[in-house]
């Protein structure tokens, strides 16, 4: 027999020997299942508006890029200005293999993982060599160098217009159904990334991540193999970002370096991290949704939206709690929660 009991701050539900509780005050709601169900229900309300569905799919993809980015920034203890490098690598790898060699999306996914993993592993020593701001600067240069390459070898990469006509991941026969399918796939990918990132931060790896972010020397003294962990925190999120590139290629069926590799795109990702609240990987989702909704709703104003967008973001960034972002408003921090501090100029 199910029984309900109202306590001061929560509702208790008892069934046989089991007890479930629901905290009444929304800021303490931490039920990821509830939010996931809400995301699953979204297409039922906006099925007739493919533009909105497409925009939310893009928001999910932005969140899927920034979740690993937040993990990477805390794990390596450095501000990364170039997550879009792996997005570009993943996108171009799958697009080129699909177009020129006829690889199916499954094989392009494997190739993307291998290429992004291999290149990030090759570049991972920069997390040991470059300290503080220099790491940020190297990561800033890398995607720009890649963008230059896409222009130089324009015959291959089609730098100006991008690659088009890659095979779709799913084709259900009707455009609306395809939009819905891609939405669910993007939600699935975002939630998988969130789950993985959350599990990593809650595990022993997460403790080492916090230790490295706080003070590398102390972490080393306490027996943490700092270099090994930094390689992991550089390579693993890079692969995750590469997978988003693969996803973009096989859903939108077009990929252009000029869209994803320049500073503007990086800035958008950085803003999502800041506005969402970099203290928790959950913050990336409201951050991505906020930025996408804002960008899309301003578009109706015409060309004025291009400068209104950064101005509104400046106001939001200044008004939000320092570093805790939108997620900080919703989630009241527990004293035991780890709040990562970014120190760009650290030695």
């Amino acid at each position: 027999m199910v029984s309900f009991e109202l306590k001061r701050d929560r509702i208790l539900m008892r069934w046989k020997q089991q007890k479930f509780e629901w905290i009444i005050e929304p800021r303490y709601w931490r039920n990821p299942i509830l939010w996931s169900l809400l995301l699953m229900a979204v297409p039922f309300f906006i099925m007739g508006y493919p533009n909105i569905l497409s925009m939310i799919t893009m928001a999910n993809l932005y969140a899927a890029i920034t979740i690993p980015l937040a993990l990477q920034m805390t794990g390596t203890g450095r501000l990364n200005f170039g997550p879009q490098l792996y997005l570009g690598l993943g996108g171009y790898t799958s697009a080129l293999l699909n177009l020129h060699m006829g690889f199916s999306p499954f094989f392009t996914l494997i190739a993307t993982i291998l290429i992004c993993g291999g290149i990030s592993l090759l570049l991972s020593p920069i997390t040991w060599i470059a300290k503080g701001l220099y790491f940020s600067l190297i990561t800033l240069i890398l995607p720009l160098a890649f963008l230059d390459l896409t222009f130089i070898y324009g015959d291959l990469f089609r730098g100006e217009v991008g690659l088009m006509g890659m095979s779709p991941m799913i084709n259900l026969g009707r455009i609306t159904w395809n939009y819905v399918a891609y939405y669910y796939l993007s939600v699935f990918m975002m939630l998988t990334f969130l789950f993985v990132a959350e599990k990593i931060s809650q595990s022993r790896f997460g403790v080492t991540m916090a230790a490295i972010n706080e003070n590398e020397d102390v972490a080393l003294m306490m027996g943490v193999n700092v270099n090994k962990y930094k390689v992991f925190y550089y390579v693993f999120p890079s692969i995750m970002i590469g997978i988003v590139g693969w996803f973009i290629v096989h859903t939108f069926r077009t990929f252009a370096g000029i869209t994803y590799l320049p500073l503007d795109f990086m800035l958008k990702m950085l803003i999502i991290v800041m506005i969402g609240g970099r203290a928790s990987v959950y913050g990336m989702i409201p951050g991505a949704y906020f930025v996408c909704f804002l960008e899309d709703s301003l578009r109706s104003l015409g060309t004025v939206n291009y400068f209104l967008f950064p101005i509104i973001l400046i106001i939001v960034l200044v008004a939000l709690p320092r570093g805790e972002g939108i997620y900080g408003l919703y989630h009241k921090r527990h004293p035991r929660d780890y709040f990562p501090v970014m120190r760009v100029r650290r030695e």
């Binding site: 501000l79 920069i126 060599i129 470059a130 300290k131 701001l133 220099y134 940020s136 600067l137 190297i138 800033l140 240069i141 890398l142 720009l144 160098a145 230059d148 390459l149 222009f151 130089i152 500073l263 503007d264 800035l267 950085l270 803003i271 800041m274 970099r278 060309t303 004025v304 291009y306 400068f307 967008f309 950064p310 101005i311 973001l313 400046i314 960034l317 200044v318 320092r322 570093g323 970014m342 120190r343 760009v344 100029r345």
Partner: protein, 291 residues
Amino acid sequence: MLLVKLQSVLVYTFIWGSIYLLISLGFSLICGVLRIFHLGYGVIFVLAAYGTWAFLDAGLGLIPSILAMLVLQVLVALLVFYKGIFQRYLDREEILLTLTMLVFMAVTHMANYFYPITAGVNLPTTIIDGTFMLGAVRISYQMLLAALMGVAVTVLLILFFLKTRLGLIIRAMSQSTQASLLLGADINKMYYLAMILSIIPPTICTLMIAPFWSIDPHMGASLLMTAMLIAILGGLGNLKGSIIASYLIGFIHASVSFLYVSRFMGFAALIITLIVMIFKRGGLFAGETIW
């Protein structure tokens, strides 16, 4: 043929190197004194070009327009960047960097909104028109003047830092802010001064190169990238490093474009900077002091 190419490399290394010096000096100055990576530095170029044009458009003459633009530059540098961002978020550098980039983005798009590329912004800042032959290389007088201006501004800045009391205080601050505070330096005033000084070289640069460089609202991004590349290669905030790096990047650009293919020049400079950063941490002069 090869001799002509070598002459071209030599001449354009000097010209481009000196112009790059003008582009990067202000950026290095802020890096050295405030120890901040000023990602909103591109705003200075956009304001210099479009601010002057807006005042010209409003009916002012060239000189009054330039003076009004300078006042606008000082106000933006001090009120928006220094008071609004740097002072408030010095301890939260990730927010500082994001905000400076957002301001840059807003100013760029604002310039694009009011004066899109089709508006044909054209600053009448040509001092001497025409071209001349230097050996076997043809160059324009304006380009040479811009390069000479780069050298002159650099020499004046160096003299200011080495021979004046204010320069001495700024150099001391770049070595240790805490020690300079103990010795009685007015840090805040010096920061204001550094912010104002950092405006001068890029503003002169924009006015000088406007007749032969394409002016468009998004020009700030590529010029900021050049300034960053030079600052990184030379060593953040070190003027000696910036001077050498400017001419080095000028040499790379000139040699790649005259001896190989010009489309590779940007990529070559990026790769060489990357290699220098990996093998010589902190760039060519890694002292993190201004001189």
